[in-house]
C-alpha cells in the first residue's frame, strides 16, 4: 500500500484523501495514518510545487554544476557534500558516477549571482579540484511533467 500511496502523491501531492484511498484500495483513515508515519520516518521529506517561473515573468537562473573534488581521508565524499549542501543557494546535490563527482544545482536570481556563488564559495573550497557551470536556458519537462499546456480534448462530444 505504501508503494501505491507514494507513487500517487509523488505525482500529485494535493490529491484528495478520498481519491488516494480509492486508488490505493484502502480506507481514508489508513491513508492518513500511513502518510503521517511516512512523514515521521522521513520517507516523505516534503511537499513541493512545480512552478514554471518563466510564465510568471520572474527572473531565475539555474545552473547544473559539475564538481570534481578530492575525497577526505576517513570521511569520503559525504563530508565534502555536507560542506556544499549547507549553503542555502544549493538546491540539490548528487554524487555522480562518471567524469566528475558531484552534480550541484544552484538557483539564484541572476546569472551573476550564481556565478558569484561558484567563484567565491564553491570553487575556492580546499577539496574542490574543478567546476564546470551549465546554465539552464529553457525547461521543457520537469519531474515527469511537460511544462507546455496540455492539448485540448479534441474528441467529438458524442460518438
Amino acid at each position: 500500500m505504501r508503494d501505491k500511496i507514494l507513487t500517487l502523491i509523488e505525482k500529485n501531492s494535493r490529491i484528495d484523501i478520498a481519491e488516494l484511498a480509492m486508488r490505493a484500495g484502502c480506507d481514508e483513515a489508513e491513508v492518513l495514518n500511513e502518510l503521517e508515519a511516512m512523514e515521521q520516518e522521513r520517507i516523505i521529506c516534503g511537499y513541493h510545487t512545480l512552478i514554471d517561473w518563466d510564465k510568471v515573468g520572474v527572473e531565475k537562473a539555474t545552473a547544473l554544476i559539475e564538481v570534481r573534488v578530492t575525497p577526505q581521508r576517513g570521511m569520503g565524499f559525504d563530508k565534502v557534500a555536507e560542506r556544499i549542501y549547507n549553503y542555502p543557494e544549493v538546491s540539490s546535490i548528487y554524487l555522480i558516477s562518471g567524469g566528475f563527482d558531484f552534480m550541484v544545482i544552484i538557483e539564484g536570481k541572476t546569472l551573476r549571482e550564481v556565478a558569484q556563488f561558484v567563484s567565491e564559495k564553491l570553487a575556492p573550497m580546499d577539496t574542490v579540484l574543478s567546476t564546470k557551470t551549465n546554465f539552464i536556458l529553457k525547461k521543457y519537462k520537469d519531474y515527469g511533467t511537460i511544462l507546455a499546456k496540455p492539448g485540448k480534448d479534441e474528441r467529438e462530444l458524442v460518438n
Binding site: 481519491e19 480509492m22 486508488r23 480534448d153 474528441r155 467529438e156 462530444l157 458524442v158 460518438n159
Partner: protein
C-alpha cells in the same frame, strides 16, 4: 429527374447518437460523458514508430491482407492473451478498424434471406451492415436481470431454419456486460446444435475488470465457426489510426479478403507499422489504462449507488448503464433534460436498440476530475427529480 438513391440505404435510420451531438455542440460548457473512444493519447512509442515509418518513406500500399509482420504479431498477441491459435497468412486479415471487419464479414457470409441474430443493446452498426449485406437482422433483446448477458435460452428461442449467424458483441458497448467462460459454453452448445456461425466482436477484449476476457473461438469446436473481430482502437487508444483485424476460417477470410481488396485495397500503412510496435511492446500501456478505467468504473458505481440510481456492475469496456425507469421518463427525455438543465451529455440506451429504453450509456473514458464534475451535476438533477416526485 430520377431518384438517385437506393431504397435499401434510404430506409436505414441514421444513428440515434447523432441527435445528442447536434444539441450538445450548440451549447457552451457542456460536460460530455458521451464518447465511445478512449481519452488517452496513443502511447508515444507507438506514435513514434508511425512517424519513423513515414521518415523511412514507408508510404506505399501493403499487401491486401496487411503487413506480414503485423499479422504475425497479432497472432502472437491472440495466443498470449486469449489462448487462440491462428495462421497469420491464411486466417488473418488487417482491416480499417473493427468496423470494416464487421461489414466485410457479413458481406462474405450472407445471402438474401439469411437471418442474423443481433443481441441488443449493442453497437449501432451490426443491423445496418447486415441489411446492406442483404441479410435479415433478428434482434434478441438482452435483459437487465441477466446483467445484459446473452443466455442460451434467449438464443435458442430466436433461431429459425433461416438463421445463419450470431453477432456476439462482448465486452459490450453500451452496457459494459461481459460473457464469462460458462456463459459462452452454453452459447457454443446451441451454435453447434443448430450449425450456426458466430461473428464475435471483441474490440473491448483488453478492457475487462473481473477476469481476463474469454474468446468464444477458444472453446472446443468453435474456432471453425467463429469470425473473431478485434482491433487497436480501444486497447491501445488508437481510434484515429483506423486499424482492426479479423481472424477466422480460411474459407471465410479468403472471401473477406476479396471484398477488402476491391473496396479498400489495404489498411493504412503508417497505422500498420505503428500497430506492430503496439503489439510488440504495448502490453504494459494497456495494463496501465485498464487500471485507470477500473478506478473510474468503481467511482461511478459508487456515485450512482449514492444517488439511488440502480445499476448492475459492468465488468467490461468503459461504460456503465444505469437504469432510470423509476423517474417515469423515457431515456430520450431524461438525457435531453439532463443536457438542457445541467449540461451533461449522455447517450440514451435506446440509441443501441429499443430494449435500451429506461437506461443511459455513461462513458468513463474521461479523467476522474471530469467525471466528478459531471456526476455532481447529475446528482443535482436526480435530486431535483426526486423532489418533484
Amino acid at each position: 429527374m430520377r431518384n438517385p438513391l437506393s431504397k435499401t440505404i434510404v430506409e436505414i435510420k441514421p444513428s440515434g447518437i447523432r441527435k445528442f451531438f447536434d444539441i450538445a455542440s450548440e451549447m457552451d460548457d457542456v460536460i460530455s460523458l458521451g464518447v465511445g473512444e478512449p481519452d488517452f493519447d496513443t502511447p508515444w512509442h507507438i506514435r513514434d514508430e508511425g512517424i519513423y515509418s513515414l521518415e523511412k518513406g514507408k508510404t506505399s500500399y501493403t499487401s491486401n491482407a496487411g503487413l506480414k509482420e503485423l499479422k504475425e504479431e497479432i497472432v502472437k498477441f491472440l495466443e498470449r492473451r486469449y489462448d487462440l491459435s491462428y495462421d497469420p497468412i491464411r486466417e488473418t486479415i488487417v482491416t480499417v478498424g473493427g468496423s470494416e471487419a464487421i461489414d466485410i464479414a457479413m458481406r462474405a457470409m450472407l445471402d438474401p434471406g439469411d437471418e442474423v441474430l443481433i443481441p441488443q443493446p449493442s453497437y449501432v452498426s451490426y443491423e445496418p451492415c447486415c441489411i446492406l449485406a442483404n441479410g435479415t437482422p433478428v434482434i434478441i433483446e438482452l435483459k437487465a436481470e441477466n446483467e445484459f448477458r446473452l443466455t442460451a435460452a434467449e438464443l435458442e428461442a430466436a433461431i429459425t431454419p433461416k438463421t445463419k449467424l450470431l453477432v456476439l458483441p462482448f465486452p459490450n458497448n453500451p452496457t459494459g456486460a461481459v460473457m464469462e467462460r460458462k456463459d459462452l459454453e452454453a452459447i457454443a452448445e446451441v451454435i453447434e446444435k443448430y450449425d450456426l456461425y458466430v461473428l464475435s466482436d471483441e474490440i473491448y477484449s483488453e478492457l475487462t475488470y473481473l477476469d481476463r476476457h474469454v474468446s468464444i473461438a477458444s472453446l472446443p469446436g468453435m474456432k471453425e465457426r467463429t469470425i473473431l473481430i478485434n482491433g487497436f482502437s480501444k486497447s491501445h487508444s488508437m481510434t484515429g489510426w483506423r486499424l482492426g483485424y479479423a481472424c477466422g476460417p480460411e474459407l471465410i477470410i479468403k472471401q473477406m479478403l476479396k471484398i477488402h481488396q476491391f473496396a479498400i485495397m489495404c489498411a493504412p500503412t503508417t497505422s500498420q507499422y505503428a500497430a506492430v510496435e503496439a503489439m510488440r511492446n504495448g502490453d504494459e500501456d494497456v495494463a496501465k489504462m485498464r487500471e485507470e478505467y477500473d478506478v473510474r468504473r468503481k467511482y461511478l458505481l459508487r456515485r450512482f449507488k449514492n444517488m439511488g440510481l440502480e445499476c448492475f456492475e459492468p465488468f467490461g469496456a468503459f461504460y456503465v448503464f444505469p437504469c432510470i425507469k423509476p423517474f417515469g421518463m423515457t431515456s430520450d427525455e431524461f438525457a435531453t433534460e439532463l443536457l438542457k438543465k445541467k449540461k451533461v451529455c449522455v447517450v440514451p440506451g435506446t440509441a443501441f436498440g429499443d430494449c435500451g429504453e429506461g437506461f443511459l450509456r455513461i462513458s468513463y473514458a474521461y479523467s476522474l476530475e471530469n467525471l466528478k464534475i459531471a456526476l455532481d451535476r447529475m446528482e443535482e438533477f436526480v435530486k431535483e427529480l426526486n423532489e418533484k416526485r
